[in-house]
Subunit: 407 residues, 2 copies
Amino acid sequence: MSLIVQKFGGSSVANAERVFHVADIVTKTYAKGNSVVVVVSAQGDTTDDLIAKAKEINAEASRREMDMLLSAGEQISAALLAMAIEKLGFPVVSLLGWQAGFQTSSAYSKARIRRVEPSRIRKELDKKNIVVVTGFQGVNRYGDMTTLGRGGSDTSAVAIAVAMHADLCQIYTDVEGVYTADPRKVKNTRKLDVISYDEMLELASLGAQVLNNRSVELAKKYGVELEVLSSMSRRPGTIVKEASKMEGMLISGVAKDEDVARVSIIGVPDRPGLAFKIFSKLSAKNINVDIILQSVGRNGTKDISFTVSRDNMKETIGLLNPYVELIGATKVLYDENVAKVSIVGAGIESHPGTAARMFEALYESNINIQMISTSEIKISVLINRADADRAVEVIHNKFFGQPAEEA
Amino acid sequence: MSLIVQKFGGSSVANAERVFHVADIVTKTYAKGNSVVVVVSAQGDTTDDLIAKAKEINAEASRREMDMLLSAGEQISAALLAMAIEKLGFPVVSLLGWQAGFQTSSAYSKARIRRVEPSRIRKELDKKNIVVVTGFQGVNRYGDMTTLGRGGSDTSAVAIAVAMHADLCQIYTDVEGVYTADPRKVKNTRKLDVISYDEMLELASLGAQVLNNRSVELAKKYGVELEVLSSMSRRPGTIVKEASKMEGMLISGVAKDEDVARVSIIGVPDRPGLAFKIFSKLSAKNINVDIILQSVGRNGTKDISFTVSRDNMKETIGLLNPYVELIGATKVLYDENVAKVSIVGAGIESHPGTAARMFEALYESNINIQMISTSEIKISVLINRADADRAVEVIHNKFFGQPAEEA
């Protein structure tokens, strides 16, 4: 008998039929003798509908009231799922975030979970109840409703798994697991049976939006084994766990991130500390800088290029423009027509030829590399956005073989 | 500077425009220097929509989960109203039932308020916030969501007024106050400036659905002055207060109740205690019996007639049928085509001719009286349902004069 946490996203409970489908998965797990805690998101478009209602009234509504509004969404889906489970004849109780012991920071709309105090959940499990918990929400120390931000339900599920020492945390989604590349775009992709936390983190941050990043970080920190699987098929998904516990593949996947823009400061005087000051300025505004490239310019000056997310582009340029004159640089350039393509794999560190194979694939397809960034388990290149899908495909073919129909 | 509780029903906040209309009333009250606590129901059809969603999944869902589901409705309306008040530039905070200190019994779907622990509301008022509280809901001693049943938001408002020692509790509705009869059906009705708690209670229980009965009982118990008024017009409404504090009118209103059925047990043997046993049987099943008439039947037997609400009719017949044989009575008859028409007024007790005037009005219109019931402040008659509207009109004319256009 195991304790299993199962999380279902908004599309999995979008209508009565799907709610029953979820209830079926949950009760089958319970009927096998497991204790089951279910974490559920708001139904389908509920959150968007509520946001639309709010915008109609006040586009600058306080985040506190937005959280009060939005947390009603999971309340509805949790109650409906509990009713479906009742209908199937199983004992069940639904709990709101605050009832389930979710204590968060006060940062409305993007609160962090401070602690899950699981006594109520434990009590209900002891009574042999299936426990349905609202994802995405908690209360701060003032007893006010908070939400964890988009994708927060994954984090809710992992946090319960941590607090309850669950044996497994299953994240049900609309894909069958983690793939070597986006299966909607690339042929011949493979579902991974297993992937390490670090690889998953790199893939998530690189735009393969399967799992919320904070949930993976939390799972990693406490060693909670995750399974990403589809609520539609009944096949095993992808297990996310510690690298030391798995046979490493060379690379696990190829990911594309189009939410990226390149900024270049041209003709920066060659004085120590200038680069540091530039990046401190951005850091102070919570602008994350990713790939950085420093190159020699004319007359002993340097050109400094880096990437930021496209959302931050405008603010970055606005911050840098006055500064450029001050330090005696020439100008600031930017390019939004770029994309980042990356390979991720625990085997990269121990296989020095991996980068060369990746670059070879791009070279063979005449795709120009603008910038490169590497870590122990990741190699990223910045290229023209127009080339991005093709780049993913040729890199994927290089590492995972040609599509069957072309082989 | 006063503390004013204002309650707005679901139709008052049905859409963005109306929400702003309510926000305008609230902020104008606040701007005059008052402390304001607003109690709000779920928007328009939200509750019905949620019930429909539940029914689609499980028509026999537990009451606990129904309360979990339904309490999301006021959460949404309270947040939206707070956003509208923010938009108008006023400080505001919304609170859920449990945050506002509403502790209730555990009777899901019809919980009773045990206590309002108002420290959070007080704290927010001290900070000069307008406080928006969700009506209709609270938590039981297990920390589970409960609802007070339909119309419960009125009770929520009065309970806050009691707990906070408010100076006035305004119940905003879609009529301008309490009328001498239903203004949609009877010509020449008058809005009452003032009415006593007891009269209001009789009127509410008799089918003049202006105020929830429990809210009036609570207001009476703690002497909270209520004002019933329209959120659309800006005119003064009807004040509900203690009879001793007002000049009594002879009668305050004429009401009609069609949710009534007549049951007759024919040929009950004339043995002591049989009537008692019959009514105990019904009482044990929570069936309320209203007008009772005992008449002499044939051969020394009695006929016992009484009224129950139409909802209880079937169950009543089912309970009585086996019993009738047992006690040697002849049979059970019933009639659903009846209605109860009543006059209510603090002056009835001191004016013995009032009943005669009422019966005269019915006699003049050839309306047959089946049963009569009287109390200090009420006279009710049971008549054919087909005559009910006409009966209300002729009684109203008798006491309040002919419609102007016919005079």
